[in-house]
Structure formats: structure tokens, C-alpha cells
């Protein structure tokens, strides 16, 4: 029997119907769609119990009190610690990427010894420690031959390093530049002593002069929390915030008022404000009030307008705001956390004295007890030290670098790197292969913050003595690293010195005990706070008499380095997880983008998108121009954190480093090296 037409149609229809009703085809399609996406190179998720452990995350300069979430013991995310009064559940963008940074490709994986230009070989820890001891032994007892640069302002590691140097008969202990160092100098000029603090949470008006307090100045997250508490969503604000500085930055974006003030004119702005306040009836019982009043009188609204471009109405409106406030506080600092002079600080702080806010809005912290008996403090910063090395005034044979990156983050960075390179033996204790580590003869890998004990005493900006401490979140570091302080204590022992401790954990526990704090409670995410000391300050009139406003012309512009915390810091290149936060107006491919307002661009002869070269001293920076009306007149804003020459594929070679074009000058009357008011020439290329 043959297949007739009817039979053929039946088979086809039956086949189609059968196909539609059978699950095989649909299941197969589903499987194909799943398995075509299920390749072995697509990473699988980790399994296990999810826990959250308290940690001190010192990836940002101030340090965040956080909780690190782990799955099966492996850290994978960072959340805020709501129980900690400093962070109150907030986390900065750098610490938010903390878990991923444990696996950063830029991590130093084992001790490395330099064997040629840019070439290193991995060595064993015993050999590395023996080499360190050998070099230190050779220079022991010769003052000036061993130096150390410390980039950690808050940790007790500084006590061990300075104590070790003192034990070796050397006094060359230097801190990387920061606000704290300059502010303490400023307080001295005002007849006081100690680290100043600022009570943002208790203020109903916060005037930030230069200081980017809501993004990168001081204890950023605590500042942001204090700000947030005054701004309940959907209700009236209970405090005013005003930002006066060179760029409409993150602090200015949420402030009630932004006043564009070029970086070299912040002291003039503060004194102009003082003049208006005195004219409005402000008086002070400070001994130098008459002198201060006479000095401030020179800063008339016309003079201030000449220096800053601000109109009289803007200044007067600010005076009205201050007069209406019951508890104002003024915070002065550099827009990027370093390089400002003590006079800039004094000019801002004098407003707190004038407003009668010393002891409440602006506080002074008492000296903290030391854990290490022989510890000293630094009387000079690393920039001044390296300037002396460059001129031959200092000639160290060995340099210890701890958590610092002076080859990248000091003014005229290329010169600084060259000077560093000329020191005979350099050892860097660093978690990451940064620009300074790449220059060193020996690199000793330090653990990531979640792999080590560490502490933070009085991060700059806190209104009360404050102490935080943390212990490792993980049992074993990801890389073959050792705690730098443990290594230094071991070296001290081999050199015949006893600093009184065997490990950094012992040092921190002793520090906690000396303060009257409970280490275990701190390590569980707690905090210790003390009381600010009393005392008064004068207005710093005799120091302020030397304030000078640097002049710029059509050919030179003031540089305003801008610090966005998400982009990392001097000691941390932009974390891979933060690269998304970099805007099109900040980086385009490998081109850094600098910003200036349209009028400034016109004067400089450049336009949107132009490629330009900024030059100052021996340094040059290449970039493109973006017009931004939030930049003060005569100023070019340059974002920090780019132009890395070490690190990893995520950051190396992207953009350019603004530190290359910052130039150092001597501040009149204080002897400090300053670079916050650097100027550059701009040329189209």
C-alpha cells in the first residue's frame, strides 16, 4: 500500500502536533539556553555560612569601622557597623571595595629583592629579614644615616618605627604630609598645643574653608553621618553647611552655599570674613584682639573681591548666616588634604576664636599616652626631608618606608622619586606594588587590613580623643606576608634593642590599656572616647600678619587638586571595583581631564576638549580640558589619583599625576613647606 496525499498530511500534522505536545523539544531548548551560558570559565559562587565580622578598615586615610561579610570564611563584602558611633553604619567608597582588594593583582605576593632596574626576585622571609638587619647594623649609631617615612598618621606602628630609629641612634623619623601636622603647628602659633578637633555633629552652621569635609577631609564617614543627621529626608534641615573653596566638589554639592575661592586666597577670604564679623559687632577676649582687628581691617570687601572674585553681597550673606547661628564651627584645610600652610589653618581657626567657639565647636585633644617608651614624634614632613636629601643637607644610607608612597604623592613627584632612588638602601613595607615599592631595594609585603592587627588613635578631625582597634578577619593572609611591625620588632631584637614587645598585637593591647580601653571590645567593633582638654587660644594675629596672596595672571593658573575618595589615596590606587565611579568628565581612555570655567579657559586660550600641557617647575602634566562653571576663577581643577606608573592593569598609565606639577614654597614666618597654592602655565598641544 502506498502513501496517499491524505496519509501524508496526517503524518505531517500528527508529527507537528506530537512535537508540540512532547516536552522533549522545549526541555532541549531550555537546556541549550542554560548550557550555552554555562561555560567552565564563568566563575562559580562560593558556598558556606555567611557571617559578618567587625574590622578596622584602614584603606581610607581616616579608617572605617566596618563589618566584613564572609561566606565559608572568605570575605566578599563590606557593610557598615551600625553599633560603632564613628561610622554609624556608613562606609566610604574605598572600604566598600575592601574585600576585593585582598585579591588585587597589585598585591606584593612575597618578599622581593631588587636585582636590576625594575627587576625583582622573590626571596624567603628569613633572607629578607637578615638583609634588613644587615643594612641596619652597618649604619647603627650614625645619626642621620637611617631614616623612616611613615604614611600612617593614626596607627601605633609609628611609635615602633620611631622607637626603633631612636634606639639605633637616629632621629630621622618623618611623616607623610597631612592636615594634622600643619594644624598642630597652627595651634602652636595661636598659643596652644595639641591636635585640634571639630564638632560637626554639634554645630548648626559648618563653614568649610577648603576642607572637603564631606568627601575627603578628616573622618569622612563620621562627618557625613553628622551632616545626614541634620538633614532628615522630607523635613527641614537643622544645620547649614557652607563650602568656600576652589571647586564645587562633593561637599559643596550638598552645602547650602558654595563660594568659589581660589586655593591661594583662602586665608584672605577668612580674614575678610573676620573683618565683616568684627564690623558687625564680634569681639574677642583674646589677648591679641586689637592687633587682629587692625589686621583684618585691611581685608575689606574690595580687597577680598580682588583676591577671590567674590562679590560683597556673597560675603555679607555669609556674615548674616553666621550671625544667625547659635553654634557655628569653621574648618579650614587644603582641598586635597595636604600642602596647605599653617597660616591658612590659623586664619580659619581664628574665626572659631572670634566666635567664641574654642572648647565647643573647635576642641583641643590632650596628648595621648605612648605604648612604646622610646617613641618620638616627627618634627618635619617627608617633603621637607627629601628636599634636604636632594640638596645634600641630609644623606641617609638606609630608608624605611611604611605604608607611604612618597615617589607618587609629594610635590614635584618625579624629582622626589629621583631623590628616593639615589638613597643607597630602601625598604618598603607595602601591601601593594606602588611607585615607591617599585623603586626600593627590598619590598616586604604587608598584610591587607582584614589580615592584620591595627589601630587608629585620633584620626584628624575628631572632636574628642578617639581610639579604634581591629584584629584579622581571616585566619591566613592571601599572600605570603608578615606584619611590618612584627618584622621591625624582630629586627630590633636581632640588633640588640628591646622595644618591650614581640608583636604588633601586644603593642596595640598595651596602647588600649594605657588609654583605659578594652581591646576585646574595640576589636569587636567598639570605640573608646575620652574628653577634649580645656584651654584657650589667641587669634594668631602676629602670624597672620605674614599672610600673602600669591598672584596669578592670564598666563598662570592656580592648581586646585581635587580628591575624590572613591579614586583611592596616595597609598592606594583606584580599586578595580571603583573604576566605574570615574566620570567621562574626569578620564577619557588614558587622557586625564582637567577642569576650568569658561572665562578662565578663554583667558588661557583653550576650549572644551583641547589637549593641554600644564607645567610648573620641572614637572609637566598632559590632559584634556573640560569646562566647569563650578571652578573658581583663575583656577584649574585636577583630579588626584591618576598617572600611576606601578600598580596593575586597572590603573597603570591612566591619566597623569597632578603631584608632578605642584611646586613647593616656603611659608613666610612658619618655615613650613607649602604647595596648596601652586601655579602652573597652560599651553595647548
Amino acid at each position: 500500500m502506498g502513501l496517499d496525499r491524505r496519509g501524508f498530511v496526517k503524518i505531517v500534522v500528527g508529527g507537528v502536533a506530537g512535537t508540540l505536545f512532547t516536552p522533549v523539544i522545549w526541555q532541549s531548548l531550555d537546556d541549550v539556553s542554560i548550557w550555552s551560558q554555562n561555560w567552565p570559565w564563568i566563575p562559580r559562587l562560593n558556598k558556606g555560612e555567611v557571617k559578618a565580622k567587625a574590622a578596622l578598615s584602614k584603606l581610607c586615610p581616616a579608617g572605617c569601622a566596618v563589618k566584613v561579610k564572609t561566606v565559608g570564611g572568605l570575605p566578599f563584602a563590606v557593610v557598615g557597623n551600625t553599633a560603632n558611633p564613628m561610622s554609624k553604619g556608613g562606609v566610604c567608597p574605598v572600604c566598600a571595595a575592601g574585600a576585593q582588594l585582598m585579591y588585587s593583582p597589585a598585591r606584593v605576593k612575597s618578599p622581593l629583592k631588587k636585582v636590576g632596574e625594575g627587576k625583582f626576585e622573590a626571596i624567603k622571609w628569613e633572607d629578607a629579614e637578615a638583609l634588613l638587619v644587615e643594612k641596619l647594623t652597618a649604619l647603627k649609631g650614625q645619626n642621620g644615616k637611617i631614616a623612616a617615612i611613615n604614611g600612617d598618621e593614626t596607627g601605633s606602628a609609628g611609635e615602633v618605627i620611631s622607637g626603633l630609629l631612636a634606639g639605633l641612634g637616629n632621629s630621622g623619623y618623618y611623616m607623610m604630609p597631612g592636615e594634622k601636622f600643619v594644624a598642630e603647628k597652627g595651634v602652636k602659633l595661636m598659643g596652644g598645643s595639641g591636635q585640634p578637633g571639630f564638632d560637626i555633629a554639634g554645630a548648626d552652621l559648618v563653614l568649610m574653608i577648603g576642607a572637603d569635609a564631606l568627601d575627603s577631609w578628616g573622618t569622612t564617614v563620621a562627618n557625613q553621618k553628622a551632616f545626614a543627621a541634620t538633614r532628615p529626608t522630607g523635613a527641614a534641615a537643622t544645620a547649614k553647611f557652607v563650602y568656600a573653596g576652589p571647586v564645587l566638589n562633593h561637599s559643596a554639592a550638598v552645602s547650602d552655599k558654595f563660594l568659589p575661592v581660589p586655593p591661594q586666597a583662602t586665608a584672605a577670604f577668612a580674614l575678610g570674613l573676620a573683618n565683616l564679623l568684627i564690623n558687625a559687632g564680634a569681639v574677642s577676649s583674646a589677648s591679641d584682639f586689637a592687633e587682629y582687628k587692625a589686621l583684618a581691617a585691611k581685608y575689606t570687601v574690595e580687597e577680598v573681591e580682588k583676591a577671590t572674585g567674590l562679590k560683597a553681597e556673597s560675603m555679607k550673606a555669609l556674615v548674616d548666616l553666621i550671625k544667625a547661628a547659635k553654634s557655628p564651627v569653621v574648618i579650614a584645610g587644603a582641598s586635597f588634604g595636604q600642602g596647605a600652610g599653617a597660616l591658612d589653618f590659623v586664619a580659619g581657626a581664628s574665626l572659631n576664636v572670634l566666635l567664641g567657639r574654642v572648647g565647643s565647636g573647635m576642641t583641643l585633644l590632650p596628648a595621648a599616652p605612648k605604648a612604646v617608651a622610646g617613641a618620638t614624634s616627627s618634627d618635619k614632613d617627608a617633603a621637607s626631608f627629601l628636599a634636604e636629601v636632594a640638596t645634600g643637607k641630609a644623606a641617609p644610607g638606609a630608608l624605611i618606608v611604611y605604608e607611604a608612597n612618597p615617589a607618587y604623592a609629594l610635590p614635584q613627584a618625579d624629582d622626589m622619586a629621583k631623590t628616593l632612588g639615589n638613597i643607597a638602601f630602601k625598604v618598603s613595607f607595602s601591601t601593594y606594588m606602588d611607585e615607591t615599592a617599585a623603586l626600593c631595594d627590598l619590598i616586604l609585603p604587608a598584610p591587607h587590613p582584614y589580615e592584620r592587627f591595627d589601630d587608629a588613635l585620633n584620626p584628624y578631625g575628631v572632636a574628642k580623643p578617639t581610639y579604634l582597634a581591629g584584629k584579622p578577619v581571616v585566619k591566613k593572609p592571601v599572600q605570603d606576608c608578615k606584619d611590618p611591625v612584627d618584622v621591625l620588632l624582630g629586627a630590633a631584637s636581632k640588633l640588640g634593642l628591646s622595644l618591650g614587645f614581640d608583636t604588633y598585637a601586644d603593642v596595640i593591647q598595651a596602647k588600649a590599656k594605657a588609654l583605659g580601653a578594652d581591646f576585646d571590645a574595640l576589636a569587636a567593633g567598639g570605640i573608646w572616647t575620652g574628653e577634649a582638654k580645656g584651654g584657650s587660644l589667641n587669634l594668631g594675629a602676629s602670624a597672620l600678619a605674614k599672610v600673602a596672596v600669591a598672584k596669578t595672571d592670564d598666563k598662570t593658573l592656580a592648581v586646585a587638586p581635587v580628591s575624590n575618595q572613591a579614586n583611592g589615596s596616595a597609598t592606594l590606587a583606584t580599586p578595580p571595583a571603583n573604576l566605574l565611579t570615574v566620570r567621562e568628565t574626569e578620564l577619557s581612555g588614558k587622557d586625564l581631564i582637567v577642569q576650568m570655567n569658561a572665562a578662565t579657559a578663554k583667558k588661557a586660550g583653550v576650549a572644551e576638549g583641547n589637549k593641554v600641557k600644564l607645567s610648573a617647575g620641572k614637572g609637566e602634566l598632559k590632559a584634556r580640558v573640560h569646562l566647569n562653571e563650578g571652578v573658581a576663577p583663575g583656577t584649574v581643577a585636577v583630579l588626584l589619583g591618576f598617572g600611576r606608573s606601578a600598580w596593575d592593569e586597572f590603573t597603570k598609565g591612566k591619566g597623569d599625576n597632578v603631584y608632578k606639577i605642584l611646586t613647593v614654597s616656603d611659608e613666610a614666618g612658619t618655615g613650613l613647606k607649602v604647595w596648596a597654592g601652586s601655579t602652573v602655565t597652560v599651553a595647548k598641544v
Binding site: G48, C92, A97, A228, T233, L579, L580
Partner: protein, 248 residues
């Protein structure tokens, strides 16, 4: 979700937390915004004035989880759905065929296409979050209000003897809202009167983006600054502030 633009400093912590929570692999050239995956993206807005008159605002943009989403009806394989699962617009990666119709349809540019397989630096896969599977090349992805957290919150409510369909305010919080250091992002059930966001979304300064399109976005913004609200297109329907603020 209600985002207070007057509190957002633009720090980017929300973007980082989102990337970490949702296992978005870091890109070597993240300045190429045509290729990046930004489930949460913080835009910079300017009032275009200069000097002391200049103002900027930062606008975090997650997926709007629209009540009437434009992306859902255009999907030929039902890889994206709007259901009662918290009102979240889902994205089923294994079902997605990568046609990108949904990307073309979304007026908020909240959807992203995986041009590459997720490549994490060696070892960094150990820091993957257990919340979200890594997506392969060729599929579209987007913010889902950290949906795993929603499921976990409901599980916890069940374990604790509570009502998983009526979670307490704060029981479920996406990573961006949890980490924000200024508390600019408030999160809750916008239909639940006991949740803070219910009132916030009806405040006089609340608005939504591109309301005139009728997509009923579930992300509300708050700003006391009129120029910011104007940029959100709140004025489009009536020319007057405060228009079109209905819950649905």
C-alpha cells in the same frame, strides 16, 4: 525607593557596593561607558550657572522597577517580567537571548549588555558574593533591588514567625541603601503606610523621572531645589510642580 538628592554627595559608595553585591567584574577600561555595567549609576546634574550661583546635584539611578515597564512587553522570550514579587522587574539570565530590545525600550538606560564574559583578576573570584550568579557574555542585566536580599528577608520572617508578605520597615534593604554614608537612599514598601517611604514619596518635593511617559517608576527622588526637580521632568504633565504623584 526614595532618594534624597540634597543628601547625595556623589561619593560613589552605592555604585561600589552594588558592583560587589552583584558580582560585576571590574573592567580595565571603565572610562568606556558604552561597555561598562552600572546597575547603579550616579549622574552629575548642573544648574548651568557660574561662580557663586553654580550648583550641582548627584542623581543615583538604579532600575526604576516601573509599575508599567517598557522593557517587559518587548522581550520576545519573557526573560523579564513584572509580577507581585515585590514589584521588582525580574531578569532571567538563562532565558535572555541578548536581542537588547529591552535596552532600546528603557528610557532610563538602566539595562546593560554583557559584551564580554565576566573576567575577574586571578583569585578575585574568591571574593564573589553568594547573592548573584555571574552572567556570561551575550545577556542583558540590570538592577533587581538586590532580589536575593528580599528572599532572605522573607525567609527570616518565616523563621521568626512573622509575615513574609508584610515585611517590617528596614527588614529588606538593597546594598546601595545599606551602605550610603549620608543615608540619602531610603527603602521600603511604597504601598505600606507603616513604611517611611510611603510618606516620603508623597512629600511636596518628591518627584519621579520622566513621569510623562506613564511608566510609573517606583523610584522617587526628593529635592528642595526647584532646578533639580525640573530636570526630573516633573513639570511635563501640567507645567506645575507636584503633578503626577500617584501610587499605583
Amino acid at each position: 525607593m526614595v532618594i534624597d538628592l540634597d543628601k547625595c554627595t556623589g561619593c560613589g559608595a552605592c555604585m561600589t557596593a552594588c558592583q560587589v553585591e552583584n558580582n560585576i567584574a571590574p573592567m580595565v577600561d571603565a572610562s568606556n561607558k558604552m561597555r561598562t555595567l552600572s546597575w547603579m549609576l550616579v549622574f552629575e546634574l548642573s544648574n548651568k550657572k557660574s561662580g557663586a550661583e553654580a550648583e550641582v546635584a548627584y542623581l543615583p539611578r538604579p532600575c526604576m522597577q516601573c509599575g508599567n515597564p517598557a522593557c517587559v512587553p518587548v522581550c520576545p522570550v519573557i526573560a523579564t517580567e513584572k509580577n507581585e514579587e515585590g514589584g521588582i522587574v525580574s531578569q532571567v539570565y538563562p532565558r535572555c537571548i541578548g536581542c537588547r530590545y529591552c535596552m532600546a525600550a528603557c528610557p532610563y538606560h538602566a539595562r546593560y549588555f554583557n559584551w564580554e564574559d565576566p573576567i575577574f583578576p586571578k583569585g578575585m573570584e574568591k571574593a564573589l558574593s553568594p547573592s548573584t550568579s555571574a552572567r556570561p557574555r551575550g545577556v542583558v542585566e540590570k538592577c533587581n533591588f538586590c532580589h536575593t536580599r528580599f528572599m532572605q528577608a522573607k525567609d527570616k520572617a518565616r523563621q521568626d514567625g512573622g509575615n513574609p508578605e508584610g515585611l517590617a520597615d528596614g527588614a529588606y534593604m538593597p546594598a546601595c541603601a545599606e551602605i550610603c554614608p549620608t543615608g540619602a537612599i531610603s527603602f521600603g514598601d511604597v504601598k505600606n503606610k507603616e513604611h517611611k517611604v510611603f510618606d516620603l514619596a508623597q512629600g511636596k518635593d518628591a518627584f519621579r523621572l520622566l513621569e510623562k511617559l506613564g511608566l510609573n517608576p517606583q523610584v522617587y527622588y526628593v529635592s528642595k531645589r526647584e532646578w533639580v526637580r525640573k530636570l526630573g521632568d516633573n513639570y511635563a504633565a501640567t507645567g506645575k510642580p507636584g503633578a503626577a504623584k500617584k501610587h499605583s
